[in-house]
């Protein structure tokens, strides 16, 4: 495998899948983390423990679970999603959503609790209060986004199990590295590894730049 159209396609697919999975994790994790941080309801600390446990979920276990669900004979088999990019996205969302949720809750809990009262005391509605708290915690929230993206772009076990590493369809950078290593093509595997590292660095560099620009202002 050389740096050609196939590598380009794998790289784009990896980025698409991880970006979509991170976006969905943020979409679910930000409100859920906010609810855990600010809400008072029965079972809150149990849910918090679940989320914290979820932050360390082994990707292969997630892969196994999603594969069982999406398997042809499984409960969601009729959806015919196994060995598709959608299956990888589902698995990656399950991996990164607890990371985003847990770090969002931690970021909001680190704020002065009186800030909520102050916002209400200036006439903020509930939505405006939450939006303002997100603004106040924007630096750690960006860190949560980076951690969420990091957990999925580098993930291999679940992608392999539910995506199947099918050429031109579900092969992503991490599964391609595993394949090339298995075939003894270490030079190609190293090249793909460097490409993955470069992409990860560039994305995190961009997010860090945004984060630190916010910190300096």
């Amino acid at each position: 495998m050389i740096f050609d159209a196939e590598v380009f396609q794998i790289t784009i697919l990896s980025l698409q899948i991880s970006a979509l999975a991170t976006g969905l994790s943020l979409f679910i994790g930000l409100p859920f983390g906010t609810l855990l941080a600010l809400g008072k309801f029965p079972g809150r600390s149990f849910l918090m423990s679940m989320v914290n446990t979820g932050m360390g979920l082994p990707p292969v276990v997630v892969g196994l679970f999603v594969a069982m669900m999406l398997w042809r004979s499984g409960p969601l088999g009729d959806l015919r999603l196994i060995y598709t990019p959608t299956a990888i996205i589902i698995a990656q969302v399950i991996i990164s959503f607890p990371v985003v949720t847990g770090l969002t809750a931690a970021a909001l809990q680190a704020l002065d609790p009186r800030l909520r009262l102050q916002l209400y005391g200036l006439g903020a509605s509930r939505g405006q209060m939450v939006w303002s708290l997100w603004r106040e915690a924007r630096l750690p929230l960006l860190a949560a986004l980076m951690a969420g993206f990091g957990s999925v772009i580098s993930e291999v076990g679940a992608s392999m199990m539910v995506g199947g590493n099918i050429r031109y369809q579900t092969r992503v950078l991490t599964t391609a590295i595993v394949l090339e290593t298995g075939k003894g093509h270490f030079d190609t595997a190293i090249a793909l590894g460097l490409l993955l590292l470069t992409i990860t660095f560039l994305v995190n560099w961009a997010l860090t730049w945004i984060q630190q620009r916010g910190a300096r202002r």
Binding site: L115, Y120, L122, A124, S132
Partner: protein
């Protein structure tokens, strides 16, 4: 209608314990009412209840003679503004801090650009307009916090010991300015403090709260001259209090 606020038969609990019991209290339009009392007496509880940040067990608060129970919390709170002990400024510029409450109310850009510079000027912090909130001194931050509340031109201003963390000279300067501003704008104000000279300087009436109950309300000079009982006298540091009933 003389009263802006009328409180009747109020009971507020924090946890299972009563934090404030108040049979009747009125606050006149344009008046500055100081709430004084020892720590834990229920002063801040009253303020937070007036801001609808605590919900009473029972009782009613009339605003301009109208029941407020059916009004949403947000609609109610948009008639008031709260300043807390710490400035709690937002991590943005001084200008944006002042604009925040106006944004919450959906104010037009023109109105924001008219009102914010005016109130920055009134509080003597116009030169800090572009400064980040985190770069301000304690006194500057509290001035900005007051401006952030006053820019809303609230019907009721709630101040919760806003000067307690400041050094004496800064505090004196800010107190002088606040007194002038409140009298010029005729803003109805409830001012919680445990500093009696501070209360006497700014307020037209003082309410003494002790043991989670309202003990006495009146002009500062009347309270100092004739405290209602031993406890109020002790709090007011009234060394010559004589309990007439005991003598009789």
């Amino acid at each position: 209608m003389k009263h802006l606020i009328e409180i009747r038969d109020l009971l507020v609990k924090r946890g299972q314990r009563p934090a404030l019991q108040l049979d009747y209290l009125t606050i006149d339009k344009g008046e500055v009412l100081a709430i004084v009392g020892p720590n834990g007496a229920g002063k801040s509880t009253l303020l937070l209840t007036l801001a609808r940040l605590l919900r009473p067990e029972h009782g009613e608060i009339l605003f301009n003679g109208q029941q407020t129970r059916s009004e949403s919390d947000t609609d109610y709170r948009r008639r008031i503004a709260l300043v807390m002990q710490d400035p709690l400024l937002f991590d943005t510029s001084v200008f944006d801090n002042l604009a925040s409450g106006l944004h919450f109310r959906g104010a037009a850009k023109d109105e924001i650009y008219q009102r914010v510079p005016f109130w920055l000027e009134r509080l003597g912090v116009a030169h800090l307009s572009k400064r980040r909130a985190g770069q301000l001194s304690g006194g500057e931050a509290q001035r900005v916090s007051l401006a952030r509340a006053l820019v809303l031109e609230p019907q009721l201003l709630l101040l919760d010991e806003p000067f307690s963390a400041l050094d004496p000279p800064t505090r004196a300067g800010l107190l002088d300015d606040l007194g002038v501003l409140l009298s010029e704008t005729e803003t109805t104000t409830v001012f919680v403090t445990h500093d009696l000279p501070e209360a006497a300087q700014v307020a037209e009436r003082m309410a003494v709260i002790s043991g989670n109950r309202l003990r006495q309300v009146g002009k500062p000079e009347d309270l100092f001259a004739s405290p209602i009982d031993q406890e109020v006298a002790q709090f007011l540091n009234h060394k010559t209090f004589v309990n007439i009933r005991t003598i009789i």
